[in-house]
């Protein structure tokens, strides 16, 4: 195309004719463009096709070659009405046109810039676009628009852009119709195309959506199409209240925030070609942040620039400050996990000194960030990434009250706390609501807490001791006041006995904390009675939340519901108030071990001391004492019998703790071996195993005696409605109860029946009480039961050939090896029907030599043989007949 233009010129113009030498000519070569000259000559002709005078620079004249014939510049032509360099426009009077750029009737026209006639007249030096002067490096543009090219006040061009324009941007500019200099520098025509502009000011791309700027400055853009949080966002609406008039005055883009909202391209004195001074620009839109100028965050008067930069920021929120390693370390130390926290910490880290002063930090214990809120909050607080951050409470630009010396809080301190900690706001109504009237307002969190620089857990303002060693730390917090020297000295630990344990694993998820602490049971912020999280009133719900298997409901120890317990009005009221566990226990200031709430009773074992608090004469359960004769406990129980207990899985009791002895601990038999005072298998008797039926509790240890079940000595077999002397029914109180009771027994053998004095031997009397006239075993009366003993000393020592089981007893019923008497129990074991069968008959049956509760099936090696020799068998077999009972001794 360019060559064709040159050809045209070679045809049209006479080489060597410069514009200055031009004269009107009627040569065809001239008239081809100067139709007006032709018209002047023919004006009187009646056959004129047109009377319209076309100068050489008339647009249509130009178009007549540029409509696709010599060149296709239709778009240029169309641009005259749209985004081309203006023509037909009057030049302002104060605008001084440079020499050699003519106007037509005072207006710009094509010929102002273009002419086919060059100054030099040399075809080779012609600008292909017929420019009046070569527009190399926008030299022609700058003839008129000199001010738009001045260094420092305009977008950099030419040498200011040398080596700065990336190749890909240069290619993009050219693709859009812009031009780059030979040295790959920006020039006027890089952005402006005088005839092929696609936007106002003949720009090759519009700027109303920052399209043109983004071509080269894409790294400085943050838009939907090119998101980059390191740059100020564009395509955004102006915020409410923004001082748009300032932008309008500067003819900046105000339909939305764009590059050319803040920046100008030409004739701007401000640095970075900003439409306002850098210090004042931001706050034109960010009016709410204007107050920062009066705060200490306006460091060295740097305004917003102190922390922010509009482009290529170092962090989120257009952060301008570099973030030192120390700040990252500090963030890790205090577990600052809020999305934007590191920005704040980029200044507020330990050891950071500005102007000789160390910048304030948040200490090592500070309010957590990075947490999600569980519930929606009423107050609109920012949650970067939907999580708490420093900026949730703090607005780094100003305090809520615009106090320049404020703490940059978004709302009054208490309001802020209560916004999230709504439940804790109840503290106003509770005893912790007024810690110190003089210093704190009612309900002020700061009375106990420091949001930053806390001294202990739970952001405590005070701790027990200089640094709290307590675990969990909340206890140190509580004890700081609940101490003899503390504010709450009227509510302190005074007992020598241990209080409710803390620091142990919290067994429930219904109460807070992994470990039990004061705050597990207590909510220091509530107004509820004794600050408990769960009420104890009545059934001690709080206690049984953890102590689930110690629920007293339905047991005889549920004193409020046990009709047998006669409580005074005061006792009842207190029990209702503090819960039924409080009858025995208190978590604080106990009177004895196991958090005992009562004056301990007299006794040898810890169980006795505890139980006798009530189960003693004159006490609450005086009707339920253990009596004179009771099951042996403590040291009365032999080692052998202790092993029986261990085998029974009933616990031995650690006398130091009062609790069942753990593995490796020393324990003894105590009340709690058989009883579980809180419930147990038998909720009425509070026994660990049942006694009803087969007396599982007794036979757990007394396994041999347990074989009585199903024998004739099981009263359920022979007399179902049997009651012992204490009125206990065998069907309800177990098989053992027919003869024995553990407490309040008739004698040491825990006998439950009044024993008849039939003989002078107690052991025999036990048997004969039943097996005598009027006794329950009257069908099996033993008339001949007596073995003489007055003139012989029976010995039960081992000897060669001794075999069998032949115990002898004193008159008092004590088993001995020498001097004892042969009584019923020497031959009979009343609990074992037959040693040689495993199954009891389960019904009344007639016995024989292999059962009948006999201890031995023959006399071999027996004490009988010791005296009677071969005669022994005869006498043994007929022992209960008159055949062997004579006054004359029959032994040898």
């Amino acid at each position: 195309m360019r060559k064709s233009l040159l050809v045209l010129l070679s045809v049209l113009i006479v080489p060597g004719v410069s514009e200055a030498k031009l004269k009107k000519s009627m040569k065809k070569e001239c008239l081809v463009c100067h139709e007006n000259w032709l018209l002047e000559a023919k004006v009187k002709s009646p056959k004129l096709l047109t009377t319209e005078s076309f100068t050489a620079a008339n647009r249509l004249m130009c178009l007549s070659c540029h409509d696709g014939s010599m060149a296709d510049d239709r778009l240029t032509f169309l641009g005259f009405k749209h985004f081309s360099h203006p023509v037909d426009k009057k030049v302002p009077e104060d605008f001084k046109m440079p020499k050699g750029f003519p106007l037509l009737n005072g207006k710009l026209y094509c010929g102002t810039c273009h002419t086919p006639h060059t100054k030099t007249g040399s075809e080779k030096k012609l600008d292909y676009t017929f420019m009046r002067e070569p527009n190399v490096n926008s030299a022609l543009c700058m003839k008129c628009h000199k001010e738009n090219a001045e260094h420092g006040m305009n977008h950099p061009i030419l040498k200011d852009t040398k080596d700065k324009l990336k190749v890909e941007y240069a290619l993009e500019i050219e693709k859009l119709g812009g031009k780059i200099t030979k040295n790959r520098e920006v020039q006027c025509e890089s952005c402006h195309s005088p005839h092929r502009g696609r936007a106002k000011k003949s720009l090759i791309e519009p700027v109303d959506r920052s399209q043109l700027c983004a071509v080269c400055h894409i790294e400085n853009v943050n838009s939907k199409e090119h998101p980059n949080f390191r740059n100020h966002p564009i395509h955004k609406k102006f915020p409410k209240g923004a001082e748009i008039s300032v932008f309008k005055e500067k003819k900046a883009i105000t339909s939305s925030v764009e590059c050319m909202t803040c920046h100008k391209v030409h004739k701007e004195k401000n640095k970075h070609l900003l439409v306002a001074e850098e210090k004042k620009l931001c706050i034109l839109c960010h009016i709410q942040e204007k107050a920062v100028l009066r705060t200490k965050h306006n460091v060295d008067g740097n305004s917003c620039k102190t922390c922010h930069v509009a482009h290529k920021a170092k962090g989120r929120r257009l952060w301008s400050r570099s973030i030192p390693e120390d700040a990252f370390d500090y963030a890790a130390l205090i577990e600052a996990k809020g999305q934007t926290d590191i920005l704040c910490l980029s200044c507020h880290y330990p050891g950071h000194i500005v102007d000789g002063k160390e910048i304030e930090t948040v200490g090592t214990l500070t309010h957590p960030t990075g947490k999600e809120l569980k519930e929606k909050i009423k107050l609109k607080l920012p949650l970067p990434g939907k999580r708490l951050a420093c900026t949730t409470c703090h607005d780094p630009h100003h305090s809520f009250d615009n106090n320049p010396k404020g703490k940059f809080l978004r709302a009054p301190r208490l309001k802020l706390c209560y916004t999230c900690h709504r439940e804790e706001a109840d503290v106003k109504n509770g005893p912790h609501g007024e810690i110190d009237k003089k210093r704190w307002k009612r309900g002020d969190c700061a009375a106990c807490h420091n949001v930053h620089k806390a001294k202990g857990g739970y952001l405590s303002r005070v701790v027990y001791g200089e640094t709290s060693p307590m675990e969990p730390p909340v206890d140190g917090f509580c004890l700081a006041c609940h101490d003899p020297e503390g504010m709450a000295k009227h509510k302190i630990k005074q007992s020598v006995f241990n209080e409710h344990p803390v620091g142990v694993k919290n067994p429930t998820d219904k109460l807070p904390g992994k470990k039990v602490s004061c705050a597990t049971c207590h909510d220091p912020h509530t107004h509820k009675e004794i600050l408990l999280r769960i009420p104890v009133k009545g059934n001690s719900e709080l206690c049984i939340t953890c102590h689930t298997d110690e629920n007293l409901k339905g047991t005889s120890h549920d004193l409020l519901n046990n009709p047998d317990v006669k409580l005074t009005r005061k006792q009842r009221e207190e029990l209702i108030k503090f819960g039924n566990c409080s009858a025995c226990h208190t978590p604080h200031n106990p009177k004895f071990k196991v958090l005992w709430n009562r004056k301990p009773g007299k006794g040898e074992t810890i169980g006795e001391k505890l139980c006798f608090s009530c189960h003693a004469k004159g006490k609450l359960a005086e009707k339920k004492t253990i009596g004179k004769f009771t099951h042996p406990m403590g040291r009365e129980v032999t080692e052998k019998n202790l092993s029986m207990i261990e085998n029974s899985r009933l616990p031995l009791i650690n006398q130091m703790t009062g609790h069942p002895a753990k593995k490796g601990e020393i324990g003894i038999m105590d009340c709690a071996t058989c009883h579980d005072p809180h419930n147990g298998a038998d909720r009425k008797r509070l026994t660990r195993y049942t006694v009803e039926g087969d007396s599982a509790l007794c036979t757990a240890c007394h396994t041999t005696e347990g074989r009585v079940v199903g024998t004739d000595h099981d009263m359920r077999v022979v007399k179902k409605n049997f009651k012992n002397a204490l009125g206990e029914e065998v069907l309800k109180d177990g098989v053992c109860s027919a003869c024995h009771v553990p407490h309040r027994a008739k004698d040491k053998l825990l006998w439950a029946t009044d024993v008849k004095n039939i003989t002078d031997n107690k052991m025999a009397n036990y048997c004969l009480t039943c097996h005598s006239k009027g006794g329950v075993g009257s069908k099996k009366i033993v008339k001949y039961y007596y073995h003489p003993h007055s003139d012989v000393v029976v010995r039960n020592f081992d000897r060669p050939g001794r075999s069998g089981d032949w115990p002898i007893f004193t008159k008092d019923g004590k088993q001995v090896h020498v001097g004892g008497e042969i009584t019923c129990e020497t031959c009979h074991d009343p609990h074992v029907w037959s040693k040689w069968t495993t199954k009891a008959p389960g019904r009344p049956v007639e016995g024989n030599a292999l059962n009948s509760f006999l201890r031995n099936k023959d006399l071999k090696g027996s004490i009988c043989v010791d005296c009677h020799g071969l005669d022994a068998l005869y006498r043994y077999k007929l022992f209960h007949t008159d055949k062997v009972h004579h006054k004359k001794p029959s032994y040898r």
Binding site: K47, L48, L49, C65, S69, M70
Partner: protein, 268 residues
């Protein structure tokens, strides 16, 4: 006042010659038109389309093409050039049957017998191709001598001749089917029978050729020997492409986005 208004209307009517009708469209500096089988094709190249109308001005459809510029309608086919160096052969529904690559900067196309005559702005020549797109010869070149061109532009054909606009030389040149120069006509000037900046030529049958002139705003009729017949219309605003169809001349005013129609014999 009324008399003045009537006088104005009369003047406009006479200046426009035998104005019979107009077809308007929303185009962007269209470059050429063609009329065939009752359809008007307007080459709206800057919108990458050929807009198709019936002769009542009803828009029928658009044929999408990349930057079309010149058009010729012959034998039920459309021949379309693109200054990007392409020639498209389409049926009248717009389906492309063939696409050729052409040399230079093709402007317009005329078909004579089995040959396609392409005006080439780059070399100011008339390039002759066969129907398969193979170039046969190229005639002309830059210059003002007979057979040469300065500002070669639109072309049309009769049964024997190809008429080519030589715009800056202000003449119409005629070639035979082999590309041999036959004749040229046109006197430089602005009076009736003169040409100042001819833009398009159309053979209207019966030895009559219509020529538009963008600067004088006239459409004039000549015989094929160059004899001036009459001014068909004048006072037009930058008329460019012309096309003849059944005794009517269609004239494109690209800057007014309209096509005017004129009856050759008397007023329609």
């Amino acid at each position: 006042m009324r008399k003045f208004a009537i006088a104005i209307i009369f003047l406009i009517a006479t200046s426009l010659g035998a104005l019979s009708g107009e077809i308007k469209g929303n185009w962007k500096f269209p470059s050429d038109i063609a009329v065939s089988n009752g359809k008007l094709y307007v080459v709206d190249g800057l919108n990458n389309r050929i807009a198709v109308y019936d002769l009542y001005g009803q828009h029928l459809t658009d044929i999408k093409l990349d930057s079309p510029f010149g058009i010729a309608a012959k034998d039920g086919l459309l021949y379309v050039t693109s200054q990007k160096g392409k020639l498209y052969v389409l049926d009248e529904t717009g389906d492309i049957e063939k696409t050729f690559s052409l040399k230079g900067r093709p402007i317009d196309v005329a078909k004579l017998k089995d040959r396609l005559f392409i005006t080439d702005g780059k070399t100011e020549s008339l390039d002759i191709y066969d129907l398969n797109g193979k170039i046969i010869k190229s005639v002309g070149g830059k210059g003002s001598a007979p057979g040469n061109f300065v500002g070669i532009f639109m072309a049309d054909s009769s049964k024997k001749l190809v008429f080519v606009v030589d715009s800056v030389n202000a003449r119409i040149q005629e070639f035979d089917k082999d590309g041999n120069y036959v004749n040229s006509f046109g006197v430089f000037g602005i009076e009736e029978g003169d040409l100042f900046r001819p833009k398009s030529v159309a053979y209207c049958g019966n030895g009559t050729v219509a020529v538009s002139d963008a600067i004088t705003g006239a459409v004039q009729l000549f015989d094929i020997y160059g004899g001036f017949e009459k001014v068909l219309a004048k006072g037009l605003y930058y008329p460019t492409a012309v096309a003849c169809y059944k005794g009517e001349v269609f004239v494109l005013e690209p800057l007014k986005n309209r096509v005017l129609t004129f009856k050759i014999q008397g007023v329609k």
